[in-house]
Subunit: 160 residues, 2 copies
């Protein structure tokens, strides 16, 4: 049984969503045409959407899993404000995705693999850490490293 089930920092729906993105990332990583990075958006007791990285699918460098899931949920809810939502990702959100999350008003982010433990290619301004972003704008909350051991092999050497 994974540690995630005992992590009281997360709601039960958030824990379920973490397991969902882990499963989706692992499944995608086994397919040559897909990329094993997944993200979800939770609102209260609902997992609104789970999406995966589509950079290689569409050859579009902006299609990170977090961007895809934000676009999908804003379309589904027909509103661009997601301040009541939690973003969950199998990999620490990069600078682009953190910023997109803030534009959507999302104030809570939970992720598995942490920047310090993964390949550099997932970040483009490596001297800016999530702590710098946290200090540089309106407050947001982040919980990193949940279920990290289940996915770290995907990202440690930058395989995905």
């Amino acid at each position: 049984m994974s540690d995630i089930h005992n992590d009281t920092r997360l709601t039960s729906t958030e824990r379920e969503a973490v397991q969902g993105v882990v499963d989706r990332a692992l499944r995608a990583s086994q397919n040559d045409d897909r990329t094993g990075i997944a993200a979800a958006i939770v609102c209260g007791e609902w997992i609104l959407e789970i999406a995966e990285n589509e950079v290689n699918t569409f050859g579009d460098p902006t299609k990170h899993a977090e961007m895809v899931v934000i676009a999908a949920v804003t379309e589904k809810l027909d509103r661009k404000e997601l301040s009541d939502c939690t973003l969950i990702s199998s990999l620490q959100p990069c600078e682009m995705c953190l910023s997109a999350m803030r534009f959507a008003g999302i104030k809570r982010v939970i992720y598995c693999a942490q920047q310090a433990n993964v390949a550099g290619k997932y970040f483009v301004f490596p001297d800016l850490k999530i702590e710098d972003f946290e200090r540089a704008g309106e407050a947001f909350e982040y919980i990193g490293g949940v279920s990290e051991k289940e996915v770290i092999h995907l990202y440690a050497a930058g395989d995905e």
Copy 2:
């Protein structure tokens, strides 16, 4: 005649693209359904694409003009690497767009209205400036404030 025609820091195609994004932004701003922010991508002597902000069109907070133009050009060229391109925007790229630009390998960015002169809403980590991003990763070049006076009225109070 605008100052832009005498700005030797820009290539003639880049100058033409600046005028193109200014015109597109001004035109879009006159339409209730559109947003007066535009961006272009230049490759050598070619303006590959000019796009505008589609956040309100699609209710999707990730659809900044720069994101739209990067997605369009990577699709058009069928490659996600744009290191031979210049990104041009009518408004200083926010943190999300700067990061997307770096994922695409773009190393040169030119913009009109500068962060210091526009409403805060266009940036989500206001204590991080473009200089911080420049110092925090691989080098890129930026030229801000070109033709600023032609568009600053759109952004000074956050109208667009």
